[in-house]
Symmetry: D2
Subunit: 389 residues, 4 copies
């Protein structure tokens, strides 16, 4: 029954489909990472990625995945026994917490139902209660890739300020950077992490960490035993366009290209495009009579949409069906959501027709498997998307 012919629609919330320009860029012959041409490349991408983060502070680029960036944030700023405040927005917040605890840090985890954002008020309350300032950092996921819920980082910054609490603000911007507005300096985030394979439209293999002066200061005296993910040598080497160990040069070629593409389109336009595609997706889900996982109207992610399956129907059967029949890959439900939701990625280079193809595949899948729904999802999405013309 499988065919898999023709273009593959990779509509998972990352890795996102990689633009042809980027794929060609990463396939250029490699150069000496200790030579002058490399230094030029490095300066270009280090400067560019700072613009994407909205920061004038260092952004570090490690060969690695986003999980490594999480580790880097933790081991450079925290010490064993330190206490941090985290919020259970979903699977990835839980994973970051798990990683943090592996390093001996005590986490205060504000519970959540995986359908809502990190609530600034709850954070404010916790911090206000922490009169001895034992909480060293507030660690929040900006866009929960497992649920399609985006948290209000700016408001969380304000909550910390209102509480006059000295905790660092550390943000997982893994699936938000390049897709949702993110203002590192303006929001005074101390550490933000991301990776290459989401809004930056690259293959996986690069981990990014954006810093603040406070974070750098803290890393000098504090942090844990570390080597690979250490900031100090990276900052030092980067000054002249080099790296303390071999960088992933070909991915940096790709990064140069993807930053150029984002800036050619214009970041405001990029964000507006994501918003439009997300609105169309939600309209489709509503038309089908299905439910979006995110239960907070203000918190809908423009990066992905998680859709709840009707009771008694398996999301993974649907995912399998559309992959086999329509060459369409959707994201699975993670952890306790496995089988209960599927996730539609509409990030990166996604455009109107790619989204409509995706929604068509889903609508045919719902029909083909006899999953209760109403027709009209694609229509509803078209109604949103045609308006902009």
């Amino acid at each position: 029954m499988t065919h898999h012919f023709g273009p593959h629609f990779l509509q998972i919330p990352g890795p996102s489909a990689i633009p042809d320009r980027v794929l060609r860029a990463i396939s250029m012959p490699i150069i000496d990472h200790r030579g002058p041409e490399f230094a030029e490349l490095a300066q270009t991408v280090l400067g560019g990625i700072r613009r994407i983060f909205g920061t004038e502070h260092p952004v570090l680029i490690f060969p690695g995945s986003g999980t490594g960036a999480w580790e880097s944030a933790v081991v450079n700023t925290l010490s064993e026994g330190d206490r941090v405040l985290m919020v259970e927005t979903g699977h990835f917040a839980s994973q970051w917490r798990r990683l943090t605890e592996k390093w001996g840090v005590v986490t205060d985890f504000i519970p959540g139902d995986w359908r809502n954002w990190a609530d600034p008020e709850a954070i404010h309350e916790k911090l206000t209660a922490d009169t001895h300032h034992q909480i060293k950092a507030v660690m929040v996921v900006h866009n929960e890739t497992s649920t399609g819920v985006a948290s209000p980082i700016k408001a969380i910054r304000e909550a910390i300020d209102d509480a006059s609490h000295p905790a660092l603000l550390m943000v997982d911007a893994i699936s938000s950077l390049g897709s949702l507005p993110y203002e590192h300096d303006a929001w005074r985030v101390d550490v933000a992490v991301t990776c290459s394979q989401k809004g930056l439209m690259l293959p996986p293999g690069l981990a990014f960490v954006a810093l603040s002066s406070r974070a750098i200061e803290q890393s000098k005296s504090g942090g844990m035993r570390r080597s690979y993910w250490d900031w100090s040598e990276m900052i030092e080497f980067n000054r002249t366009g080099f790296f303390p160990y071999t960088p992933a040069t070909n991915l940096l070629y790709g990064l140069r290209e993807s930053i150029a593409m984002i800036e050619e389109e214009g970041m405001t336009n990029v964000f507006a495009r994501h918003d439009r595609l997300a609105a169309a997706t939600r309209a489709a889900v509503q038309a089908w009579g299905l439910e979006v996982l995110c239960a907070n109207e203000q918190a809908h992610s423009s990066v992905l949409t998680a859709v709840m399956m009707p009771d008694g129907h398996d999301a993974d059967a649907l995912r399998h069906y559309v992959l086999e029949n329509f060459n369409l890959a959707l994201g699975q439900g993670l952890s306790h959501l496995k089988g209960k939701i599927f996730r539609i990625g509409h990030l990166g280079q996604c455009n109107e027709l790619v989204l409509l193809a995706t929604l068509s595949g889903i609508e045919m899948g719902l029909s083909g498997l006899g999953i209760p729904h109403q027709r009209g999802g694609v229509h509803a999405a078209m109604d949103i998307l045609k308006r902009r013309a």
Copy 2:
């Protein structure tokens, strides 16, 4: 208003979108076309293309476009003053006729309204009337790329046989080969031509001519002054895997890959896929309340569908609109059909979701420009496409 972000949907009836595997193949470093490695490549593609044509006779591959293949068919078999029978199926039949006349050949052109196929009975009648066998060749376009009408080559072969007429059968298989069933030897076609950028899913730049023993025989004594498009040296050189002048090596790399892809999918499956996509397209057009140009139910092309615009509406305005707004390229109306029709290509590597994306773009365009239509085209297409699962 233009954005052109994300994947481009090139849904013209050729050049068709090129598979990633083929694009990577053509970008490999070039080799000496007089060396042993080349000979191996040549034997592989010359053997493969014969399988695609369904022939054991030589198939010649020239650097050039399909127009050159037309010329090659004419100058190797006909002489100035010769008479041939052609059928006005549309723009490309007319262009082929024009080219043929440039070479001093007299054409008997059975008139047509560009909405129907080449009628075997009309051909039979003409041949029967030609008692002195002045007609040297019957020249027919298998799939009229300008109209989306496919002609019945097998029946035309039978009409010639029934008339006991010695005319050669020459077929333009430019947009049919690799997309519609075509049986060179079984149908006893004498000369068939095609090019790289349609069902073979390659960039333009290769012209193909498939021969029969009779055609080869005739070319030895007859034909006109010629050099580039001459068959004799090509046949001679090809025997050992070489070419009389520099071949387009990198495109041959691509050809090796595209033949492999077609045979991996299976030619029967390839044709069935084209049929299914075409049926879905026609269902969409009907649902919109628009009219397909092809007026003969038996003659609908599975390669492309030409759609008539409601009176007073310009097809090119629609084409411009969907290109600007949705990064979708549709085919224009050619010659007197300019502005009156648009053409949807659904050939090559097209699959279900690519087609639904295309139809979505058209439906949004019809709506965005206020062109009278009913909604539901995409739905209707989904109803066809979901069935196969």
Copy 3:
């Protein structure tokens, strides 16, 4: 014994090795050749190629090989029975003559020993003797790819002028353009032809014809039956950035890139580089005690060097040996030079180290096969090449 591991050294005088930038460019997805993006591409390459030719007149780009460009020159300007003056510089001059005669043109072929250039004085003599101006064209190969001899086009122009003869000047610039200085307008050449796979560093598949006002004028009234290679429609369509039939779009992407590369390096620098590499090659040949085929010191080609084998030794055995053992492809002797010479291409993207690798391979081959020679060729070449630093 074969290994063929690692980089292949393709040092034939065309196709020349293709730069990575060009290979990546031709592998980008294809676009509609009737759309606005294509028109922009076409205008860019049509403008660029005029700069490379040094002309403000049209340069036409056909899908095809250089052989087609030859044909285009002939059929647009000459008629059956016309007389032309050609010079036997080598295999390709002979082939061009053969093609010209196939078209019914009478050729006056000044004989040559394949070791010298087209002599302006001999041409002057022939033209002066042609008091009735029966000679319609002087047709000369600029750089004889089969022998490594370059002819003095400027002096030939002057010879024609001195004879006050109205013959058109038609030049085969196939292996010279982009590698040797060529000034179409300044030298008042009427028709010049080239192809993609030599100095333009592209895959084969594009044929170019540069024109003059006189040539265009002549083509309007004269010439032979023709269609594919006709100039008039091409000129007409090109005005708006389009083509009368499907162009080889992906190769045009490559052309855009290769023109950019040539202009980034600077044409003067490109020519100087070719001169330097050629001088080093000749120094190597001399050091080996072998003889360069070109017997005229002023006529050495900077594109390739043809080397004569000592009597009793087979050049093709050497070529086979270095291909099998060192992954090095050299050009063979053509026609009666088969086995007697081998040709070293040093054109296109060739640089110092590529050349020295090539010469090393040859020196090891000479030694490995026991061909009489003195050591030191590579040394001699290094002595030339190191000086520029």
Copy 4:
């Protein structure tokens, strides 16, 4: 003075030049790392890399650089305060020691002059003296990339056995794997690390760790706080072809291709090729009258050759000169060898002509800068390389 035209010769001892086939492979569109097609890819490369290591135990593949693989070896097997035995073979042995100490491990560092291998007898002596078995691991660099000295891992294994010492044997195979014979299981190595950009001919970005049963056992109870570089989850996930966090999919495409290339050539042939190229390089150095850094005839590396500059001459000036003038990148001297040596990489896809081009560039550089030497290095290398034919 800079030109940088034509092919770049990247002859540093890693990243090594990447084969065209690998570059094309890594540029294919990405797929879902949680889907069935990925699982197939993963099983293929996990199986293949075990064959390259010569092991039936797990080999783990992390997104990261070789430095990360070092860390992974340390944090999974050792605990703070543990004692290990290391040998000062050069810069990278020193760096690995530095990293190990950052993790609180006490290192016993057998001093060396950076011109010799890790001496099995010295190791035996140390272990024999360690009667209380405080040494938990012997950590050795197989091929010292900074010096061009290879150490005898098999003999070191025997030294440990002879001492009846339970220390783990941990080997840095970073620049040896795929270039020098390495037999993980046969030599009973416990942990070996490598990365993608040396003998595996890939871009940097993958870190590999090969294990033994003992190492795995030890990691279960011991090791330090860790997350990213932890073995247990990786082993667990890999069983079904998946990874605990996002793998560097496109590099895995490349790995599949490079393993195929190595196995097509045959590992024995690969090693023999490296040996031959290295012998030729040493012959060239000797002919120049320069000195190879490696002072132990049995320890010459076949991966790279480090060359000592005559007193008073700066190696980096030479490196700069050949890069500017001949587009040739050589490796620099590291740490206290900076300016005193240059390193010639002859690994990966290097072949005879690439090496001779490299040696020619060096010989011209020596001459151009007036560095005292005798001519004839290239000649001497040719004498070695031509023999195999």
